[in-house]
């Protein structure tokens, strides 16, 4: 019997049956077929426990949502404390916690960003960003990269790969041109007509397997934006919050974006919230019609407390230093592992503790994911490029846990190589 207060399940099997029956049959089945029978139960720090008690080190972090670890005690304590006085708040009125968080976010951001709008999740935040750009430029087109991913809401979905839009007959129209990544000429072609409201870019495209922008690429895109009167939107949902070793990854490129979007990790993994940081120009609608975008749960005040604490922890000088240590150790050990498997482990994409590990098989990352899972590590393949494993250690990883993770990883990579060579198993 598995007891969880308001509900219980007799067994994992019973739970999985109900998951198929009442929730999401395809997704539930997909993981069973992939050899990952994970049902996350207890969670603490960077550790997860399956319903059956198996311990896993989490380097998926749900896209950085658990950047500070699961149930970070400081975030929990702040939200608990806030619950003694606050609830979600009323989005119609000026709100204490929303304003406090906005001020802190602006203080931490590149100087171009002066206002903050709130959403309840990353997709909505991207929609706000795109709507803001359209209002500010009075143009409609939004340029994104091929294989982009910015979320599943209306406008966000249109910027992304049709993997997620066709299903819902929502695939892109002419207002959402996609250009190849790392191709400045193609970008210039797209912008030349001076009819583009904004270019939206993840600083490193996560779902595409973290291909790194060529040196100078993002800087080039920014100057093209300036040249043709388009806004630059930095999607920092997965690259922000110190994951690159600086609070916002885009600052390492010296780019001052017109809009910056943060989600996932800013919630502290505890209370959903996403934020859109806007320049004076991009935030113009907030001067003209502040009721232009309305979101009951957007910027819920309890979420603001989670975000304030998250920001405080993340910006501690000690934490920045710890991230640099962790990035240095993980990078150098993985490079050694790579030297031992040069034909299999073909590339390491690294910026800080953001890693895309490339394997020499069209679905190589699925093999490694499964071996890692067997060895007690949870990392996920890149949906839009399954050759590449997303490998995302949290920013508060301890030296001991990092060493343990690396030991397990080296073994999993070796086993996956053998399994690809000897096994006809194909990932679903």
């Amino acid at each position: 019997m598995h007891e969880y207060g308001l509900f219980s399940f007799d067994s994992k099997d019973e739970f999985l049956e109900k998951s198929m029956q009442f929730w999401n049959p395809d997704k539930t089945q997909f993981w069973q077929d992939s050899g990952v029978d994970l049902v996350i139960d207890r969670r603490e720090g960077y550790l997860l426990w399956d319903m059956n008690g198996r311990r896993l080190i989490d380097v998926h972090l749900n896209g950085g949502t658990y950047n500070l670890g699961h149930r970070n005690p400081e975030v929990l304590s702040s939200v608990r404390d806030a619950m003694g006085h606050f609830d979600m708040g009323n989005h119609h009125f000026p709100a204490l916690a929303r304003t406090a968080l906005a001020e802190k976010l602006v203080a931490t951001a590149p100087p171009s960003l002066t206002k903050v709008a709130y959403a309840s999740g990353g997709g909505e935040a991207i929609d706000i960003a795109l709507k803001s750009a359209r209002h500010a430029t009075q143009r409609r087109k939004i340029v994104s990269i091929v294989k982009a991913y910015h979320g599943h809401t209306g406008l966000a979905l249109a910027t992304g790969d049709d993997r997620f839009s066709k299903l819902f007959l929502s695939d892109q129209d002419s207002e959402f041109p996609h250009v190849p990544f790392n191709d400045l000429d193609a970008m210039e072609q797209a912008l030349r007509g001076r009819d583009v409201a904004a270019v939206i870019m993840e600083t490193i495209p996560a779902t595409y397997g973290f291909p790194l922008p060529d040196p100078g690429y993002l800087e080039g895109v920014k100057s093209l934006c300036e040249k043709y009167g388009s806004l630059y939107i930095a999607d920092e949902v997965q690259t922000g919050l110190m994951r690159t070793g600086e609070l916002w990854g885009i600052t390492k490129h010296g780019v001052e974006p017109d809009i910056l979007v943060t989600g996932k990790g800013i919630s502290g993994g505890v209370y959903p919230i996403a934020c859109v940081l806007l320049s004076d120009k991009a935030g113009d609608w907030l001067e003209v019609d502040g009721f232009g975008h309305i979101s009951t749960f957007g910027g819920a005040e309890l979420g603001c407390f989670a975000a304030l604490k998250t920001l405080e922890i993340t910006t501690r000088p000690e934490v920045r230093s710890m991230v640099h240590y962790c990035a240095d150790l993980v990078g150098s050990v993985l490079r050694q592992v790579q030297q031992n498997h040069p034909n299999w482990f073909t590339g390491i994409r690294q910026n800080g503790v953001i890693f895309g590990l490339e394997f020499n098989h069209p679905e190589g990352a699925k093999f490694v994911m499964r071996e890692l899972y067997e060895l007690g590590v949870w990392a996920i393949f890149s949906t839009l490029d399954p050759r590449v494993l997303q490998y995302k250690p949290g920013i508060l990883m301890t030296p001991d846990l990092t060493e343990e993770l690396l030991d397990r990883t080296a073994l999993a990579i070796e086993r996956a190589e053998q399994s690809v060579g000897s096994n006809s198993w194909k990932a679903a």
Binding site: E103, I313, E318, M322, R349, T398
Partner: protein, 546 residues
């Protein structure tokens, strides 16, 4: 634009428990950063360590004067010129003392067939007292660096500004010379709950506790390894065979030194009747003011108003203390000497003083002198130190055997002598009081106490040879920043341009400043100071109580 609104709003809404938890968590992150640093530092070569230790000692000595006067300004304790001496002794002095010492390179004992590989403690949590704040920071930092340990300093709240500044200067010098980032850190806002939490934290590998008895006991009950020291209460015995003139000079000089704030400072003078009068004459000539019984009573009322030491007198000039007691001693007075009729605890002048005041007891012979010294140490100061002025080797030996202390100086001032200045004891701001003084260390704290050695033992049978380890060194030299700055893997690794000039840096320092409490209002600052004074008074009281 200012962060004030955010800051005050956030903190107004935070309960005190959440705020305390946040401070403890940030200190935890300092320990975590130190753990990373120590992990790297433990691979540094002897050459690296020599370079880093010299650079840090240099930086420390360059700031010796500045920090000496800043210390006296901030704490109100002691004498600038003597603090300079201590700061120099604990910077370039230590460098000279341990020149050639090597706590890094493996050692081979071919005869015993044992290879020894040093294993640093890792992360050291070092407490510093208000009386020797900067010298102690220097001392504990350099010892930590010599032995490849990371160190987190807890400055005394009364000296936190100068101590944090000192730690910052040393940290910059260390990292500048190639040490890992975060190898030296300090707690910006030390408080008792915070210190206790750090002492208990499993990331703390060794506590160096110098301070009041309560703090030292707390270190020992933290469940982590600790090297703590007990209070001193130093008897000095002058016997009939002493060179009275020289003894008088040593005693007065020692009492003058930094206005007696060192724990090694003489507390009670015991003199054999046969030389007592001439000792009084000689000491008076040198600036000692011998009080009448009446004056002594007035002084006791000021120094021990509730039976506990009044922190207002600590480290003050003798004539200032005399003034506080309504005694007119004149500005030339360097030491106040108060007569004691018997070495018993109810005579308050038998207790530790941390001020240029000396209790004075006459005894009929050496045997009585020795038992009086034992009585003084029984009141407080077990395991600490004692002094004797004598030319009779039997008396000196008997005194050494009978008085339960772990160091004594002969025919020299004890303030500096037992701290290793002018004697061949290890120069130390931390005086181990050993088992008798409820401590895990019986020597003056020194680098060898901060490192373990892995013993790689081989069979002693003659037919089993020991492999040749000579010339092997498991460590490597470091000539790049540690850790490396996280440049994207597809970008050129060029350290000349890799240094981040990003906006985030500025922001962090901005946030850091506000989090450090720079924005505390004048009102709450005053309250904080009052609270600190209360804590210090309590700590000193506990110390003097023993």
């Amino acid at each position: 634009m200012s962060l004030d609104v955010t800051q005050s709003l956030a903190s107004d809404r935070q309960s005190p428990q959440v705020k305390a938890f946040s401070e403890i968590s940030q200190a935890g992150h300092a320990l975590e950063r130190a753990t990373w640093a120590a992990r790297e530092f433990g691979t540094y070569s002897a050459t690296d360590i020599n370079r880093i230790v010299s650079a840090v000692a240099d930086a420390a000595s360059r700031h010796a004067e500045e920090f000496a006067s800043a210390t006296v300004d901030e704490t109100g304790f002691g004498v600038v010129e003597h603090k300079i001496q201590k700061n120099l002794a604990c910077s370039t002095g230590l460098l000279d003392e341990y020149a050639g010492a090597d706590f890094v390179t493996p050692r081979v004992d071919s005869e015993k067939k044992v290879l020894e590989i040093p294993r640093p403690a890792g992360v050291i949590f070092a407490l510093a007292p208000s009386t020797n704040p900067v010298a102690t920071v220097y001392f504990k930092v350099l010892l930590s660096l010599m032995t490849r340990n990371a160190v987190l300093i807890s400055p005394h709240p009364m000296a936190k500004v100068v101590s944090n500044r000192a730690a910052e200067i040393l940290a910059e010098a260390a990292v500048g010379a190639g040490a890992p980032d975060g190898v030296i850190q300090s707690l910006p806002e030390p408080s008792l709950p915070l210190i206790e939490a750090v002492m208990k934290d499993e990331r703390t590998k060794l506590i160096l506790a110098t301070g009041g008895t309560a703090m030292v006991r707390s270190a020992y009950s933290s469940s982590n390894p600790a090297l703590g020291v007990g209070p001193g209460n130093v008897p000095v015995f002058v016997d009939s065979t002493a060179d009275v003139r020289a003894a008088a000079a040593h005693i007065v000089d020692s009492k003058k030194f930094d206005n007696s704030v060192l724990c090694t400072n003489e507390s009670v003078l015991i003199a054999e009747d046969s030389i007592a009068d001439s000792l009084v004459r000689e000491m008076s000539r040198l600036g000692a003011h011998f009080l009448t019984v009446e004056e002594s009573k007035k002084l006791a009322d000021v120094m021990y108003p509730t039976g506990r030491l009044n922190s207002e007198v600590v480290g003050k000039d003798a004539h200032v203390i005399a003034g506080m007691a309504g005694i007119n001693s004149g500005p030339k007075t360097k030491v106040l000497v108060a007569p004691i009729s018997a070495p018993v605890p109810e005579e308050v002048m038998t207790h530790e003083k941390l001020a240029p005041v000396l209790g004075f007891l006459r005894v009929t012979d050496a045997e009585r002198g020795i038992s009086a010294a034992r009585a003084i140490v029984r009141i407080a100061g077990a395991g600490h130190s004692a002094a004797i002025h004598s030319t009779n080797s039997r008396t000196i030996m008997a005194y050494g055997a009978a008085v339960p202390v772990l160091r004594m100086t002969v025919n020299a001032g004890n303030s500096t002598g037992s701290a290793g200045l002018g004697t061949s004891l290890a120069t130390s701001m931390t005086i181990g009081t050993g088992f008798v003084g409820r401590s895990g260390v019986g020597e003056n704290l020194q680098p060898s106490h901060l490192v373990n050695w892995t013993k790689v033992a081989h069979s002693t049978l003659s037919q089993d040879p020991m492999p040749n380890y000579s010339g092997l060194d498991p460590w490597r030299s470091h000539d790049q920043p540690v850790p490396e700055y996280p440049v994207a893997s597809n970008a050129q690794r060029d350290y000349s341009v890799a240094a981040p000039t990003s906006v985030a840096d500025g922001v962090i320092s901005k946030l850091g400043a506000s989090a450090d409490g720079d924005r505390i209002s004048a009102v709450s600052d005053a309250a904080l100071r009052a609270e600190i004074r209360r804590l210090v008074a309590q700590e000193l009281a506990n110390m003097s109580k023993g």
